[in-house]
């Protein structure tokens, strides 16, 4: 007997959530999470991502629309009747129960015999690497260990969907990377359906099969990490996922799929993405900016910062201000130097104005 996955897909059909009369926390969203995938809800605070997660859990009830887990309509079902478990930001371990009792807690309500519940709970603890910690109290564990107990407690129920509400925000930076890798590994080994809320875009990029970027109670864009990073739909997504320099430009000509844009007299060719000639926005990642002395856009180094693995520059010019990183740390440019700026062949993306 080991921990199995009963992964099921989750589907939102035109789901809204209103608090009181005027506050719309989630506004008619449609969402599909495939079985066995890890999907991240990402967005600034107040965008409705946690409310969405809590609606899957059944801790909030949708004001309108339908929520399905597997083929079952769970819209009106309370949390206790849904086959979903959740890992809380604060872990919410019961302080008066031992680690084992915590992990066993949900199993006792699922109709398992005592021995069975115990051995399943021990299996769960082993899976998260906490074998032998079963008699401790939560207060006798470190933050990272508490986190893993919370994961084990949710895992052993073999839920159709496993939910994470900003699970790493109480951990320090080093631990955060390790725990997120552990979570991803367990998810992939067991083939779990996981919905994961975070406001940290790096974390989202690292763990997700798919990312749902949310803004103002709605969905801004859904896609794989790569799609979102390389081809954001609009300025909001471009700026939120990774850092992006947004430059005003003009599309002078579109030939087939290729557009030619002009910034400060400099011409650059890139995929048109269906945009017509006229004013547009060019999104360029800091790493896609080339700094040189040949032809290009005239700029001045305003700030130069050495951060160890690379140099970070702020360039100013007629276009405004951009942020660029360069791998060359041996010959740094001094502030005040006049340079020219060009873009890498791949990377810059055209966005509507």
């Amino acid at each position: 007997m080991s921990i199995q996955s009963k992964a099921a897909p989750v589907r939102f059909e035109a789901v809204s959530k209103r608090f009181g009369k005027d506050v719309v926390a989630v506004d008619t969203i449609d969402l599909h999470v495939d079985a066995g995938k890890l999907v991240t809800l990402l967005g600034p605070s107040g965008c409705g991502k946690t409310t969405t997660l809590r609606m899957i859990a059944g801790l909030e009830m949708a004001s309108s629309g339908r929520i399905l887990i597997g083929d079952r309509d769970v819209t009106r079902l309370p949390a206790t009747d849904r086959d979903v478990s959740m890992v809380f930001q604060s872990y919410a371990l019961f302080p008066h129960m031992s680690v084992l009792e915590n992990v066993k807690y949900g199993l006792t309500f699922s109709g398992f015999a005592k021995d069975e519940a115990r051995s399943r709970a021990l299996k769960g603890l082993e899976l998260v690497g906490l074998k032998g910690f079963d008699a401790r109290l939560p207060s006798e564990l470190s933050g990272g260990q508490q986190q893993r107990v919370a994961v084990a407690r949710a895992l052993v129920l073999e839920p159709q969907v496993l939910l994470f509400d900003e699970p790493l925000s109480n951990l320090d930076a080093k631990l955060r990377r390790q725990v997120r890798e552990d979570i991803r590994a367990i998810q992939q080994d067991l083939g779990l359906t996981v919905v994961y809320v975070t406001h940290d875009q790096e974390e989202a990029l690292a763990v997700s099969d798919e990312i749902v970027v949310m803004r103002n109670a709605g969905i801004a864009q859904i896609g794989t990490p790569r799609q979102l990073y390389d081809a954001p739909n609009d300025r909001f997504v471009a700026d939120f996922i990774g850092e992006a320099n947004l430059l005003a430009c003009e599309i002078t000509e579109v030939q087939g799929d290729t557009a030619t844009v002009r910034i400060d007299g400099h011409l650059h060719q890139l995929p048109a993405r269906g945009l017509p000639p006229g004013k547009a926005t060019l999104a360029v990642r800091p790493s896609r900016i080339r700094i040189g002395t040949g032809s290009g856009i005239a700029a001045t180094v305003a700030k130069a910062t050495y951060v160890g693995v690379r140099m970070e520059y702020t360039l100013t010019g007629a276009f405004g201000q951009v942020f660029a990183v360069q791998d060359d740390v041996d010959d740094p440019l001094k502030p005040g130097t006049d340079v020219t700026m060009t873009f890498a062949q791949k990377g810059p993306v055209l966005l509507p104005e």
Partner: protein, 737 residues
């Protein structure tokens, strides 16, 4: 969890259906004379005798046929046993059955009483009934509960409060009992104020009683006597002001002076909890009464005739000030400590000196606390019954007037009701003012952030008088309590001061005989009754209080504010008013419990419930809500969550609520004095009886015993709770890793 689990009939539903049928078919429907638990009714012709028969047997024999329609709502839920919970029919049938059953039970209960139909229009419509019924018994009660919870399950199935059966049922249950035992008696009492002697309703009756000179007369301004309403009001305002000032002085000494024995001063806060309210009055008599120590001393010194100055306004004022100053202290110490030291430090760095800081920053920040302390003193003084009874003399106040209107020779329910309304009006206005005042202005300067500052000391010009007043008063309190103990061991106060244990022997002697211990003392009867009733009431009070607190902190539902106001309201209803209204409401069917122990237990539950609610709210708001939520997502329902997560974490609060309601039940007098009977006499009313017979020795010995019993209970609680709290603090600090 798969789909077939939701098709299974919920066990709660089965339970309440069975309970309904048991109540209807097996248990005696009406009140059994010797009480259900004596089981004498089993031999008394059960199940056929009319007095002990269950409902089903009654209608089978052609009696009480108005109970027959209850079969319909009892049968209805059986139809949906196989129905899934999500089926709209399930909800509809349960709501119908519950509402029908509960509604019919209430309707028949109120329309048919001991003289047949209670209303003339029913008599004229159906003719004389020729039958009658008494108060509801356990059968009827369980049936009513079954209908109520069928109704709440139906409402939950329709999706109210996320479809949570436990929460909907708890809300329904609390609303029902609060309505039945707080609002219903009060409403009944208000109606009683309008009833003429022959039972008709009339406004002029009310008016004549309301505008009585004994109530509103202003004679005291020209040498005659004032009305009871004015007396009560003036007394309450004076007590409010004096206790607030004294309480503030104590609080300042404890937080802002170099005084060394602060812990001893804090111990004062325990006193009002363990002291029966009239004991202070007794001690004052020992000191300043006609044969009191101080009186005699000065009489000998100046050769004057001892006077009865104590009996009246001065005595009551001193007694109440002694009794309620610790309450004001308790309120104000929190407020005075709550003023953020950094505010005061900021003022000092802005070149205000100590006095200016105190006047311009500290004092204004304490203003809401001062108002709160004043209003509490006001309400307590209005509601106090014991001290005016012992010391009042010719000084009539509302609470004692109510008592004499009911038990005295006048026996005028209407007058008692009118007086109770006036009293209720005063306390509710104060309660309302308190909520409005505190709701608008919150100067709480305590934040989650650590505040490293230190409170500045009081300016010297202030600290000397404050210290003098506080210490003087503390000394007086000590003398008063010493008098109580001393008074219990002298032969006859002021006449024969030889030391003796005679009073204790009279009260608490035991004889050990062959058959076992014989409790021969005069006080044992009331003592054991008091302990039993208090021990029964305490867990129920704690349970009702904590469930209510859980609903208020953890759940949101329509009408929650009204719900909260309703539950806290009983705090503002003086005990005398509760006592009168219980007598008026519960001496006739459908709930006929006057003269039983049940009515005492119930009155304690609803008198002390706000304490349980406050304790519960305070500690529940410290538990992170994600604990409940994670339990819910792990498959526990809200009842299991409440029982396995919330309750274990609330152990200290539960213990505090238990002990507090136990002790309050032992010291209460104002409601009790109306509700005791020969069979169920309570310690406090027994003592009052002794005082009225001028048997001070016994009364004081008994009071002293009570004080020590309660002191040990409170000490035991401190010991146990103290230990659990240490455990909790450790776990808290470490979960924050």
């Amino acid at each position: 969890m798969t789909d077939d689990t939701s098709k299974k009939t919920p066990p709660v539903l089965i339970f309440w259906i069975i309970a309904g049928w048991v109540g209807y078919c097996l248990l005696p429907w009406y009140m059994v004379e010797d009480g259900l638990w004596s089981f004498r009714w089993v031999l008394d012709g059960y199940p056929f005798d009319e007095d002990v028969a269950p409902g089903l047997f009654l209608i089978a024999q052609g009696e009480k046929l108005w109970l027959a329609p209850l079969l319909i709502p009892l049968t209805l839920p059986l139809l949906v046993l196989r129905c899934p919970k999500s089926d709209p029919l399930y909800a509809k049938v349960l709501i119908l059955a519950g509402a029908l059953g509960f509604g019919w039970l209430i309707a028949q209960g109120f329309s048919i009483g001991i003289r047949g139909f209670n209303f003339d229009w029913l008599k004229s419509a159906f003719g004389d009934l020729g039958d009658r019924q008494f108060g509801m018994g356990y059968g009827a009660m369980i049936c009513a509960a079954s209908f109520l919870f069928l109704l709440t399950q139906g409402i939950a199935a329709r999706g109210a409060i996320n479809g949570d059966v436990f929460v909907v049922s708890a809300v329904g249950g609390v609303i029902t009992i609060v309505t039945a035992f707080v609002f219903f008696p009060i409403a009944k009492m208000l109606f009683a104020a309008f009833v003429t002697e022959d039972g008709a309703y009339s406004l002029s009756v009310f008016a004549s009683k309301f505008f009585d000179d004994r109530l509103w007369g202003l004679g005291c301004f020209w040498g005659a006597r004032c009305g009871a309403a004015w007396n009560s009001l003036i007394l309450a305002i004076l007590v409010g002001i004096i206790t607030t000032v004294l309480g503030l002085a104590f609080a300042l000494v404890v937080t802002r002076s170099g005084f060394r024995y602060k812990r001893a001063l804090r111990a004062l806060t325990v006193l009002p909890i363990i002291t029966p309210p009239f004991v202070i009055g007794l001690a004052l008599i020992l000191l300043f009464g006609l044969s009191g120590t101080v009186t005699q001393f000065f009489a000998d010194l100046f050769g004057t005739q001892p006077t009865r100055w104590l009996y009246g306004m001065p005595g009551v004022l001193i007694a109440q000030t002694l009794a309620f100053t610790p309450i004001a202290f308790l309120v104000l110490i929190g407020v005075v400590e709550g003023v953020s030291p950094s505010m005061e430090e900021a003022a000092q760095t802005l070149r205000a000196n100590r006095w200016q800081t105190f006047r311009t920053v500290s004092l204004p920040l304490m203003r809401p606390g001062l108002a709160n302390a004043f209003l509490l003193g006001f309400i307590e003084s209005m509601a106090d019954f014991g001290n005016p009874l012992v010391l009042g003399g010719n000084f009539d106040v509302l609470s004692t007037e109510i008592f004499f209107a009911i038990v005295g020779a006048q026996y005028d329910q209407g007058r008692a009701a009118v007086l109770a309304m006036v009293l209720l009006f005063f306390t509710l206005s104060a309660f309302y003012a308190q909520r409005v005042w505190l709701g608008r202005k919150s100067y709480t300067t305590v934040t989650g952030k650590g505040d490293a500052g230190v409170h500045p000391l009081m300016p010297v010009g202030l600290s000397m008088p404050v210290l003098l007043v506080a210490l003087g008063w503390a000394l007086f309190t000590i003398v008063v309590y010493a008098m109580i103990i001393y008074g219990s061991v002298v032969e006859l106060w002021g006449v024969n001061n030889t030391l003796t244990f005679k009073h204790y022997v009279t009260a608490f002697s035991v004889r050990i005989e062959a058959e076992g211990i014989r409790w021969t003392g005069a006080a044992w009867d009331s003592f054991w009754t008091t302990i039993t009733i208090a021990a029964l009431a305490a867990p129920l009070t704690a349970a009702v209080g904590l469930v209510t607190a859980y609903l208020l902190t953890r759940q949101s539902f329509a009408g929650k504010n009204a719900f909260e106001f309703g539950t806290m309201l009983s705090f503002a209803i003086p005990g005398t008013v509760i006592g009168v209204s219980y007598i008026l409401a519960f001496n006739v069917p459908p709930i006929e419990i006057t003269g039983t122990g049940v009515i005492l237990v119930i009155s304690f539950i609803f008198r002390n419930m706000p304490v349980g609610v406050r304790a519960g709210i305070a500690s529940m708001s410290q538990l992170d809500k994600s604990l409940d939520e994670s339990s819910l997502t792990l498959g526990a329902n809200s009842w299991q969550t409440f029982r396995r997560v919330i309750l274990p974490l609330l152990r200290p609060a539960i213990l505090a609520a238990l002990v507090y309601s136990f002790v309050r039940a032992m010291t209460a007098i104002s409601a009790v004095i109306f509700l005791v009977s020969a069979e169920y006499d309570m310690a406090t009313s027994y003592i009052i009886g002794r005082v009225e017979n001028n048997d001070y020795g016994l009364a004081i010995a008994y009071s002293t015993t009570l004080i020590f019993v309660m002191l040990s209970v409170v000490a035991f609680m401190q010991f146990v709770v103290g230990r659990t709290q240490i455990g909790r603090r450790m776990s808290q600090s470490r979960t924050n890793v």
